[in-house]
Symmetry: C2
Subunit: 337 residues, 2 copies
Amino acid sequence: MAEKTILLDHGSGGLASQELIGNLFLKYLDNPTLHSLEDSAIIENQKGNLAFTTDSYVVDPLFFPGGDIGKLAVHGTINDLAMRGAKPLCLSLGLILEEGLPFDDLERIIQSISEACKEADVPVVTGDTKVVPKGKGDKIFINTSGIGVVDTDVVISSAKAEEGDAILLSGTLGDHGITIMTRRAGVALEGDLKSDTRSLHRLVAKLLQEIPGAVHTLRDPTRGGVATSLNEIAASSGLSIELRDEDLPIRPSVRAACEMLGLEPMYLANEGKCLAVVAADKAEQALEIMRSTSEGAEAVIIGRVTAGKAGRVTINTPVGGSRVVTPLHGEPLPRIC
Amino acid sequence: MAEKTILLDHGSGGLASQELIGNLFLKYLDNPTLHSLEDSAIIENQKGNLAFTTDSYVVDPLFFPGGDIGKLAVHGTINDLAMRGAKPLCLSLGLILEEGLPFDDLERIIQSISEACKEADVPVVTGDTKVVPKGKGDKIFINTSGIGVVDTDVVISSAKAEEGDAILLSGTLGDHGITIMTRRAGVALEGDLKSDTRSLHRLVAKLLQEIPGAVHTLRDPTRGGVATSLNEIAASSGLSIELRDEDLPIRPSVRAACEMLGLEPMYLANEGKCLAVVAADKAEQALEIMRSTSEGAEAVIIGRVTAGKAGRVTINTPVGGSRVVTPLHGEPLPRIC
C-alpha cells in the first residue's frame, strides 16, 4: 500500500483540511478552547500585563537525539515568554507543510507537541495549516506564538542589568547546536550528545517567587549562543560583562565535537538553558534555587556585570589573559531551530 | 552592481540578523514595544476576555492587484480576531525567507505591512525571522498571530446562529480568489478585478456597539469561500441555511472570469468580507450599519437560518428550484492566501 502523504487538499480549508483537524490535531491536542475551531480562540484573561512572542521553527533534521521540531516549537516559545518573567497561558500552532510529507512524520510531530504541551501545562488553543507544493517548502515549518501574563511589578529586561550583578547559566553550553550539527554532518560521536530542548518556565517562576526583585535579566541563548546573548545584554544595559573561562560548563562530548569541527561552544545554540543576571547579594541563593530544579541542576555562576566599556564582553582565560567575546558573525549552523 | 538578496546569515541571530532588524523592521514597523527587541513583547492588559489567533500566508504570487502577501497577513489576522467580536490589540510577525529573495521585494512587503498596520491602528509588537536555503522555501512565508480583547458579555460563535436569523454578506463574492487565479493562470481579463483584502474590525465594532446582542455569528469566508463557511455555521448550530441565488453579490468581471475558468464563486476565497448572522428583527438595521461603512458599502442579505436538517445549506434558484451547497471538496486554488 502506498504511504499516506500530505496533499495540497489538506490546506484547502475544505473537507480534507477538516479531516486533518479531526483525525490528527483534535486527536492529540484537544481542549475546550481549541475544540470550538472558530476564527480565533477566546481565553479567560488574568491579572497582569500580557507577554506575547512568536518563533518559526525550520530545524533540519526534523528528528534528532533529545527531541524534534515539535518539542522545540513548544519549548522555545514557552521559554521566550518565561524570559520576561511571564507565566505562559497558551500557544498557537501554525503549520506550513510540503506536499508529500509522510503522514506518519506529521503524526509523530503532533504527538510530540501534545506531550510537550502536557508536560509544560500550556495548551495549544488555536491553529492554522497551509500546504505548499512539493519543492516549495521543506517537509514542515512550524510557527508557535504564545501569550503569557506577568505581574505588573515584575520588570525583567536586558536593559535592567546592573553593575555588580552576577551572571548565572542554568546548565551546560551548546548541547543543542552540536547535536544538530553532528547529526547533519553525519558525524558519529561517542557519548551522550543530545539536544537540551526543554521548557524553563517553572525554574523562572521559582526564582521570581523566592528572590523577588533580584532577577534583573533573563535570556535563553538560542541562535547566536551565549556569546551573542551576553553582547545584547551588555549593549542594552550600557555595561561590560566579564566571564571566567574555567567556569563555563561544557560537556566533554560537546567539547570534543567542537574541537573536531572547529566550533566555539559559546556561539552554539541552546534550547533549554537560560542566562540570569541577578543582584550580587542574591546570586548564591539564585544558584541554589536553580540547582534545586531538574532543568537547572547543573547551574553555575559564569561571570559578572562590570562598569567597563558599554557593550563589551570579555573572558578571562586560565593563564591570566583576557579576550573580547564578539557577537556572532556569519552563520555557522543554518536551520538550527 | 549585484542585486542585494537575503543570505542565510540574515537568519543567524547574529550581526546580519540585527542589521535586518535595524535597517528594515524597525525602519518601517517601529513602536516602543517592538523597539525593546526582547524575547517577548510586554503589552498593557485591558478588560475583557482575550482573543488569540494565528495564520500563515503562502500566497503565490506575492504581489497582485489590490494587495500583496504583507497586506493579506495583517488584514487576515485582524479579521480573525474581529470575527469573535474582539478589538485587535497587536500582532506578531514571523517571517520564513528563502535565501536569494531580493532585498527590494522584502522591503516592499515590510513597507506594505507597515501601511496596513497604521491604517488599522494595530501594531506589530514582536517578530522572528528565519532563512532557509534556496530551494527549501518559496521566496517568503509570513505568519501573523494576533491578540484582541472582547467584552465578557459578547459571545459570538458559529454555534450561536438561531432559527430565523438573517445572513448578511458585507460585499461582493470571490474578488480575491479570482484575482489570484487569473493572475497565476496568466489570464488577462478586462475590468476591475482586484483583491478585496482589507480589515473589518471597525465594521464589526460598529455592529456590536449599535445593535448589542443581535449579532450571533461572524465569519470571514477566506479559503473554501462562502459555501464552506456557511456549511460550518449550519453544522455548528445544528440548523439549516437557505440562500437566494439572485441575492448573491458578484461583480460582472468576477462572474465572467468564473464562467471562463469553470469556477463557482461561492467557493472562492474572500479577504475583506464577512458573513454576519443577525437576529431577524435587527437585520435591516445591521444592513444599514454595514452600508454606512466603506468596507460594507455593498452589503446585502443573502439568506436566513431555518429549522431544517442540521448542517444543510441550500440555495434557491431563480426558476424556483433548490440545490444543496456542499462544503469545498478538493483544492481548486492552492496558495490563495
